[in-house]
């Protein structure tokens, strides 16, 4: 992979707790979680910018709700 740069990330206690939970649940590092989040965020942002929509579907209720990105 390309050369990496280091940055300090300021998180609230709650944000850090969520990050640690996700890292533990998925058995990967906190850095890997942040990287994955960035990859996903960019992918979704680009596709929504191109006019596509992202839906969550409740298979029991047969309901769909579109995800909106800020």
């Amino acid at each position: 992979m390309s050369a990496k740069k280091t940055m300090t990330l300021n998180l609230t206690d709650q944000e850090m707790e969520v990050l640690e939970e996700l890292a533990q649940k998925k058995d990967i590092s906190k850095t890997a979680i942040i990287r994955q989040a960035l990859r996903l965020y960019q992918l979704i942002d680009v596709r929504i910018s191109e006019g596509e929509k992202l839906y969550f579907e409740d298979s029991k209720k047969k309901e769909k709700s579109a995800l909106m990105l800020l």
Partner: protein
Amino acid sequence: MSDRSNVYLKDLATGLPVEAVLIDGVSIRQVELAEVSWKPHIHAAQKQLVHDKVPQELWPQHLHWDWRRKHKKTARLLACRWLGIECDQLMQGLTLLDTATTGRIPEQSGKPLAYVHYVATAPWNSPELTNSPKYGWIGRVFIAAAVSSGYQILKVRSSYEVQHIKKMASKS
């Protein structure tokens, strides 16, 4: 930005390993050069398939892939990684990995994996297109590269797999 590392391919004429370069972060220029070198062989293969009256649904899927278009559409996405293998100053294979997906089988659920969207060898390496393919190990180098990056391959959609499934289906 791209990284280059040394890998080995198998020279299928001699059976000996030969040095090659794995490129992680293939540029649009490299994709264009690959297409320029691949196209005459692909056109010749298409002509032969037409001559042999092979139905189009049995043609190798990658014959019609537009690598330039795929690259332009995905190159700036962090989730997409373009890998290529160079040997003899020619691109011997290309693959596009999607690293934004996660595992679905219970023991890997939610863990990151590299999904192989597209993978193809140069036409002169493809046993589907020539009776004397030049280099082997293209696919295994790509898979090893993805795995060594810390991802787990769960599903591969390659022209080989598609053709293999079709052949199996036609036999059953």
